[in-house]
Amino acid sequence: MEKQGTPAIPILSPYLVTSARDAAYELGWLHPRFVSLSEPDALRGEQAVKRIIGGKDVISGKPLMPAIVSALTRPLTAAEKKTGKLTHPVESRILPVKGTYDEIQAYFLDNKMTDGLPVVIPTEDKVKEMLTGTSHRPEEIVAASFKMGITENGQREGQNINVEKVAAIAVMAGCKAEYLPVLLALSTKGPPYFSSAQSFTGAAIVHGPFAAETGMASGYGCMGPYNHANATIGRAWQLMGRCLCYAIPGVTIMGDWGNNLQYNSLTFAENTVNPMIPWEPFHVEKGYKQEASVVSIWEGRGFRQRCGYNLPDFTLKVLDNVEPEDCALVLLTPLSAKMLAEDFGFATREQFRRYIYENSTMTVQEWLDSDQVQTFAIPHLELPPRAPEFKQMQEAIRARLAMPGNTVIKRFRSPEQINLMIAGEGMIYFVAGGDFHLKTIVEIDPWR
């Protein structure tokens, strides 16, 4: 609004002031006039609203309403009128530091270059060795832009990320050179999670021969610690968020809790080798050749598990907590998939996906209560339809809004929102379901 020549201020929750200052700086707003409420107001009752209106602006310490008036009328200071340029420091290729192991670890920690754990020190020699894992030249750009956010509102952004930078991060995470192609593939699509008050994690699932070549686990404990490739590839991807787009909790990454799964970005391989598996591999279902190596990239918050014979019913139960309008990822062990095919008649993934779509339900009121629906789905009704699918979504939302609150509706708007993945050894009949959506699939082979 200031760009249109109108004096304007944002009113903030107190927990967003630091983050807003960082974003304002990135936008060139060097001396922003913010006003902050004394406490968050969203969905609060009358008592809280009264307290906030009568409370103080936590930035100026003045009563809130006079602070708002003052921010809109106070004459500008010389600093506020000033034009000029802002700069970020030039990042040298080699760090301006040398020292002992402990000194270098402290340097990385103090300069927010780690996940809090010690790193392998990325000396030039070690990075050179890492670069033997790809045929690509060190200076080749893999991502022109690398950023956390989905909006243009002052997100930190790394620019012109090259192969050597990714290799340095791979060293830090403890990767072997042969893992580098999957990291280069991942780096083309940004960090594992975006900045949201909700605590998302990314997930990277590797499909095809690359998984076995690098020793990635797809069986026992594949989603836990102990496998070198799973652990370090996932950690390297997470470190890309830290080093390539400056992930700093409370400043640039706003997950209220964070997510423990972020430590290794939920990185594992699909199990395609267990003879019990009745269905084609995930990447083949998505149109890739069996011999292709790809990594599927996901984003979500977590999984719930059930164990027992009635797998179709348990699948619906573990998906009960998926936020309306979100997608679902169902994880099955090889045995679970075999039982679904043999005992319950789901000969293909598509049949089981259709079953979930038809039988996973909620009420209109549960749908309406969702932040996701209120923040995105309903406001998006006012936007011009950009594509036929968007128009269909708008029509579905309008239809739901016209229904009584106790009407039972499908949890998912289409079967395509549901994906099925087989992982684990297959010793037991587990099913897990989570709110992960498939962001994209990237080929690994071009990065060898």
Binding site: I11, L12, K50, L76, Y101, T123, T151
Partner: protein, 105 residues
């Protein structure tokens, strides 16, 4: 020399280069008073239209009760918070003497 005494040098920098240079945007001149002025309050709809409406309407009420001849226009922006509502920004530019937007979270 023990491992503890080994000196590490030539360490590669893993941090990405951020944009090197950009313009400072100065603030827009303020009116001396809001008396007799048109002020827009924009609901950016984080958490839904109703999430912040009670507070934004309470701000509107306070301004109308405490500032002479002020005209306060309350509007929810079109689309979710992430969608730039160019039409509304244009309207604010043409009609408002001052504006406020809120509230993220």
């Amino acid at each position: 020399m023990t491992d503890k005494e080994q000196i590490y040098r030539d360490i590669m920098n893993p941090m990405a280069q951020q944009k090197p240079v950009w313009d400072v945007i100065p603030l827009v001149e303020r009116p001396a008073t809001l008396e007799g002025k048109t002020v827009y309050i924009i609901n950016q709809r984080w958490g839904g239209t109703k999430a912040h409406e009670p507070l934004l309407l309470a701000i509107k009420q306070w301004l109308e009760e405490n500032i002479r001849d002020i005209k306060v226009v309350y509007k929810a922006k079109r689309g979710s918070y992430a969608f730039p509502d160019a039409e509304l920004w244009k309207e604010v530019g043409e009609k408002a003497d001052a504006a406020m937007i809120g509230i993220p979270h």
